[in-house]
């Protein structure tokens, strides 16, 4: 019987190696696998390349990992949030490299990696600083820039409910980058809030089929981070 569940976040991230490239899901707080990232801080791997929409906040999760000096490079669309103090400090001192990518291009490059696409042409960025040095091409009268897939050794994602096969459901805006990062990491590790028996997740509502998931760990939702949804439609 296949059971992708592991006992702890520490076990889930135990094989992350120095120099690894790691995708971290989430946008703002929703969908960030914060406990996995905290376990990675404990685990010790360093010289990491992180792919995430922002640069984390405060000294928890990605913010803490950056503050600890463990991140060599960040690939992000919006690392300039006011809360991203650790990144700001290390970026301004030249201690971290930044690859700035428009958000839609970031998401599409991740999807391309997961879908076996070798590259794609997007209009986004043509004629701007973010396309400088990149190959462009006119197709049907419109100019596009060639963008390449973003692969990762590991993807850390977060979901609301999951079963032992790795089938996952996200809640509300927790979804964001998580389903596409789940397709793009060589090893995909899911932090889930609730493990349920196989067959309990409604078939047609499963957002991420288990095929994409290598390991998962149940981290019950913290009560102080939870307020009940306000509208019937929202659950």
């Amino acid at each position: 019987m296949i059971d992708k569940n592991v006992a702890s976040c520490a076990e889930a991230v135990s094989d992350v190696f120095d120099g690894a490239t790691i995708m971290i899901g989430g946008f703002g707080d929703p969908g960030v696998p914060g406990r996995l990232v905290e376990a990675l801080r404990e685990q010790g791997a360093t010289d990491l390349c992180i792919i995430h929409n922002g640069a984390g906040g405060g000294d928890f999760s990605l913010g803490g990992l950056i503050q600890d000096g463990r991140v060599r490079k960040l690939v992000a669309s919006f690392p300039s949030g006011t809360g991203s103090t650790a990144f700001r400090e290390r970026y301004l001192s030249g201690d971290i490299e930044l690859e700035l990518v428009p958000q839609g291009t970031l998401s599409e490059r991740i999807r391309a990696a997961g879908a076996g696409i070798g590259g794609f042409y997007t209009p986004t960025g043509v004629g701007t600083r973010l396309a400088e040095g990149k190959e462009t091409r006119i197709i049907n009268g419109r100019e596009y820039v060639l963008e390449l897939p973003l692969h990762a050794d590991f993807a850390f994602i977060k979901a609301h409910r999951g079963d032992r096969l790795g089938n996952l459901i996200y809640r509300l805006a927790m979804r964001n980058f998580n389903p596409i990062m789940a397709t793009a990491g060589k090893q995909v590790i899911a932090e889930i809030e609730e493990l349920v028996p196989v067959g309990e997740l409604p078939l047609e509502e499963i957002h991420t089929p288990g095929i994409f998931i290598d390991r998962m760990v149940e981290v019950p939702r913290l009560p102080q981070l939870f307020a009940p949804p306000k509208r019937g439609a929202a659950t």
């Binding site: 669309s77 428009p102 839609g104 998401s107 986004t124 701007t128 805006a173 964001n176 981070l225």
Partner: protein
């Protein structure tokens, strides 16, 4: 007289059509939903995967899994949908979002937009602004006409790094409504009490004046919110 920030938002709201799919940037655009009639069925899109964003959540009722692209806690309107980033930017890049309204640092006469990298900003961040500027059907700018130091933001050519070239269709400011046309920037409306010359004075490119150019029809207040500033423009 010039418009307040709410006045600019109100004026934009009049141009958003029933059933539109609208992405709103930070700043003045976030005030727009307050002025939309209830039956417009306009769906507000948020890059992080929401269509049908409702009002901000009341304090104490925030749902930690429900934020908008600015990371504010929001609610959902009936008929709202949730999706992943790939589908969210399919909506944007694929031209399905009918309107985006965003702020600007600079706009040029040819519709070039600069709003992602300000002078002196040390940490760059672009978010979804470029995809929106390249992808949506109608890109509207809502901003103050001049900088806090009184310098024009509507220029012959942008000096800051571009968000996208030739992308802006219409500009709404506290002083005027202007269209980018093949012939140049065209003044459509000016704030009550101003005239085309007063707008031109604060605008770097030479303005064309539309045949039907007119003062904005704008109430002083809506729902107790002031739309027209109490003091005259500087």
């Amino acid at each position: 007289m010039t418009l307040t920030r709410n006045g600019i938002a109100y004026r934009v709201s009049l141009d958003l059509p029933k059933g539109g799919y609208v992405n709103l940037g930070i700043g003045i655009p976030t005030l727009i939903p307050n002025f939309l009639p209830e039956d417009t069925d306009i769906s507000i899109h948020s890059e992080n995967g929401i269509l049908g964003v409702g009002p901000m959540a009341e304090p104490g009722t925030e749902d930690p899994d429900l934020v908008n692209a600015t990371k504010e806690f929001v609610t959902l309107n009936p008929g709202a949908t949730i999706f992943d980033h790939a589908l969210s930017f399919t909506m944007i890049r694929g031209g399905h979002i009918t309107h985006a309204v965003m702020g600007a640092i600079e706009v040029a006469a040819n519709g070039d937009l600069a709003n992602w990298s300000a002078p002196g900003e040390k940490v760059p961040g672009v978010g979804g602004a470029m995809d929106l500027a390249f992808g949506v059907q109608h890109l509207y700018i809502a901003m103050t006409h001049v900088t806090s130091k009184g310098a024009p933001k509507i220029l012959n050519a942008c000096r800051c790094p571009l968000t996208a070239p030739r992308c802006v269709q219409r500009i709404y400011t506290d002083m005027a409504v202007m269209d980018i046309t093949p012939e140049g920037m065209m003044l459509r409306e000016y704030a009550p009490g101003l005239d085309p010359e007063a707008v031109q004075e604060k605008t770097e490119p030479r303005l064309l004046v539309a045949d039907d150019c007119r003062p904005m029809e704008i109430p002083e207040r809506v729902n107790g919110v002031r739309l027209v500033a109490e003091t005259a423009a500087s």
